[in-house]
Each structure stands twice: as C-alpha cells, then as structure tokens.
Amino acid sequence: MADDVLAKIDEKVKNNKIMLYMKGTPDFPQCGFSAHTVEILKSYGVPFGSEDVLADPSVRDGIKKYSNWPTVPQVYIDGKFVGGCDILHELHERGELEPLLKAAFGK
C-alpha cells in the first residue's frame, strides 16, 4: 500500500514540470510556508501542479519518504526535488530559480 502512494507521487512528479506538495491549495494555503512557496512560484507566472497533503494522510507521510525530507511544502522541478520553502526562497533571492525554471520549460 505504501508502494502505491510512492508510485502515485512519482507519477505526478514526473508528469508535472513543477509539482508542489503543500498544505492547502494554491488559492487557499493552510500554512505560511506553503503560502510563501506558492507566492514565489506564482511570481514567475509558470504553471505548476499541486497536491494538498492535508487531504490525504498517506500522501503526507509518503511525500516525506519519497524525498527523504521531513517537512512540507516540497517543490519538484523537472522531476527533481529542489527543497522546501527556505531553499526555494533562497534560490529565488540568489537569482538561481529562474534558470532552473527556464531549463524545465525549455525556455
């Protein structure tokens, strides 16, 4: 059963150029860190997939196992785990996020 969840996560991560696992939804984030992460992604005007981990406890546990990272939100770009709110914020500030996004969307 746990494998099912991981397979489901893997599929979403691979099928979305940007995939965000968060608490709440992009329009109604349920946590400050998730809200800030959404805000950063939205500032680039790029489309991103998202899933609300609060809606499914198995995903909430599964995503932590999948990335071996203890917290949510989690951002995946081009199938690769990039980090949570702190790391995304820092990449954004250092100007390193834009090239990552450009590479993912093939410019």
Binding site: W69, P70, V82, G83, D86, I87, E90
Partner: protein, 84 residues
C-alpha cells in the same frame, strides 16, 4: 529548548571551519534561524547543504529541543560576496 551555544558547538564540531550565527526567532528557545558559513558546503547544492546540517542536528530536532529550524547556508566565497 536548546541554547545558542549548544547549537554553535555541535555544528562547529561536526562541520570543521564553520562560522555559525544563531537567532532565537520566538524567544522560546526552540524556533531558530541559523546562519552557517562553511567550506564544507563548497561544491554542494543548497539541498545537500541543508541535508547535511539537518543530519548534524538530527537528535536535537528529533526530540523537539529544536522545533523549527530556518537555515541559511553559504560557502565562504558566497558570504564574502554578500558583504562587499
């Protein structure tokens, strides 16, 4: 709860040559911002750097002495560039 000295000592011992600055975000001693400048981060991405620090403080995070940890990690070269 943990003291800033404990955080500093633990990190500086595990990551030789590091400079560590701590900030108690709430005054409660368990929500911390930690800035680490370390040559150990050279050649590593942010994710790897944060993983490394989380690993060093695993016990303290695990037993909730540290409840929240906001990290800022830099290589010495990156840090110098920021200051100039």
């Amino acid at each position: 709860m943990i003291t800033p000295e404990e955080i500093k000592t633990t990190l500086e011992k595990a990551l030789p040559g590091s400079t560590v600055e701590t900030r108690d975000l709430t005054g409660g001693g368990d929500h911390w911002q930690v800035i680490i400048v370390s040559p150990v981060f050279e050649g590593k991405g942010l994710l790897e750097q944060h993983r490394l620090v989380n690993e060093v403080l695993k016990a303290e995070i695990g037993d909730q002495r540290i409840h929240a940890l906001a990290l800022k990690t830099f290589t010495p070269a990156q840090w110098e560039k920021l200051g100039s």
